[in-house]
Amino acid sequence: MIANFAVVLGEWKPLTTGFLNTVWICALSGAVSLVLSVFVSMLLVSRRSALRRAAQGAVDVLRALPFLMLLFIVYYCLPALHLRFSSWTCGLASLVVYNTAYFAEILRGAWAHLPREQEEAGRAYGYAGVGLYRRIILPQILIASGPVLGNQLITLVKNSAFLMVITIPDLTFMANQVQAIYFVPFETMLVAVMLYWTICSTIEWIVRGMERVAVVRGHE
């Protein structure tokens, strides 16, 4: 058993590569998704009903889709339409599109729960349109939805493991290679699980910090 762990630790290089790939894939796609979701959330409450319905339809479809299905569609079906991208592009784009839908829906929900008077106070003090959203509404709904956004970020990290099926060398992919070469499945997976746990608890830690901010800067 100890000897098996020694084998796994001896393979620290591929495991570290996989770990770092997972970290930057998740950080980049999480950040891009969050930024995009701010714009999508504005569409979700647009006064133009055609725009609002189209955006809500797209968000609903994406949320009803298992992430693996989306990945297969992007990676296997788009080439049939002569749209061919690298596996990295497909993987990142899928994560971004999928999580933008979730983040946008979370922001829309938080907006719906924001007291109407907050928006009204903004209007009474000279805000309208995008300025009203950016200065008055967005900061409040980001604070209010911090824990839910954090949960979705953790789901993103776990979904990123699916990227191995389109040959992206993430942590799961590398761990699978190590265990296949040396046939030490238990020890390798244990190490991989510990590394995933490290990423997720870091996110948890950040979310708890945000919750402390929310207590002071939130509605009572």
């Binding site: 008077e117 907050q118 009204e120 106070a121 903004g122 209007r123 009474a124 003090y125 000279g126 805000y127 309208a128 349109g129 300025g131 009203l132 200065r135 008055i136 900061p139 409040q140 604070i143 207590v215 002071v216 800067r217 939130g218 509605h219 009572e220």
Partner: protein, 261 residues
């Protein structure tokens, strides 16, 4: 045909305002005007349309009939070069609202900003005045309402009375031409009402133009230059406070005042 212009000597001039919510007529032909430096108190039973009247003055509600003028300029409409009037865009309307301060019953401070942040938010980001100047004025306002020590606190850490004083300072920070108060003490614990009324009394004395919807009869009697009484969406009586309280001319007002005697 050209629309009548508002009276330029009046800061606020309201003419024939009407508003319905579905079948319910909330305002019927309401007219009033407030001259510079004067305080108008609007009294009346709950549901008489007082709050709706205030919300129509800054167009948070769009009136169905009538017109509101701010220093002779029509609120919510803009004159085209051809001399016609067209409704303002959201942005134009927002810009005009910075000239009308509003203090809400529920304070509606922005919880994500500190006390100072609440005061300087609109002057810096909407009125685009220089930060240094705005912050210095905000500090002076905080001194005036006695809350300089709460400058960097968040609203969640303040009492109701402190919140409402900050909300008044937030309105003043925009240097508005008129301040609208929508029942500013109605959601406060009784022991906190006094500190808010004291700030408002000072403002009235300093010549800030104000329209105050309130149930505080004592405040209306002392601080108002004029009292307007509404019932069922209509103006029943307008009078100087002394005359209004001591010798009202309508039976409806006498009946209303008896409940406070």
């Amino acid at each position: 045909m050209s629309e009548p212009r508002g009276h330029a000597g009046h800061v606020v001039d309201v003419r024939g305002l009407g508003k319905s919510f579905g079948p319910l007529r909330v305002l019927r032909d309401v007219s009033l005007h407030v001259a510079a430096g004067r305080t108008l108190c609007v009294l009346g039973p709950s549901g008489s349309g007082k709050s709706t009247l205030l919300r129509c003055i800054n167009f948070l509600e769009r009136p169905d009939e009538g017109a509101v003028f701010l220093r002779g300029e029509r609120v919510g409409f803009r004159r085209t070069p051809a001399g016609r009037e067209r409704p303002m865009s959201d942005r134009e309307l927002a810009r005009m609202r910075t000239r009308i301060g509003m203090v809400f019953q529920q304070f509606n401070l922005w919880p994500h900003l500190t006390v100072l942040g609440n005061l300087v938010e609109s002057p810096i980001h909407v009125q685009q005045r220089p930060r240094g100047e705005v912050v210095a004025e905000a500090d002076a306002l905080l001194d005036k309402i006695g809350l300089r020590d709460k400058r960097d606190a968040y609203p969640s850490r303040l009492s109701g009375g402190q919140k409402q004083r900050v909300a008044i300072a937030r309105a003043l920070a925009m240097k508005p031409e008129v301040l609208l108060f929508d029942e500013p003490t109605s959601s406060l614990d009784p022991e906190l009402v006094g500190e808010v009324l004291a700030v408002m009394r000072d403002l009235a004395r300093e010549g800030q133009t104000m329209i105050v919807v309130t149930h505080e009869m004592g405040f209306a009697r002392e601080a108002a230059d004029e009292v307007l009484f509404m019932d069922e969406g209509a103006v029943i009586e307008t009078a100087a406070p002394q005359r209004f309280f001591d010798n009202p001319s309508t039976a409806r007002v006498r009946q209303f005042l008896q409940r406070f005697a």
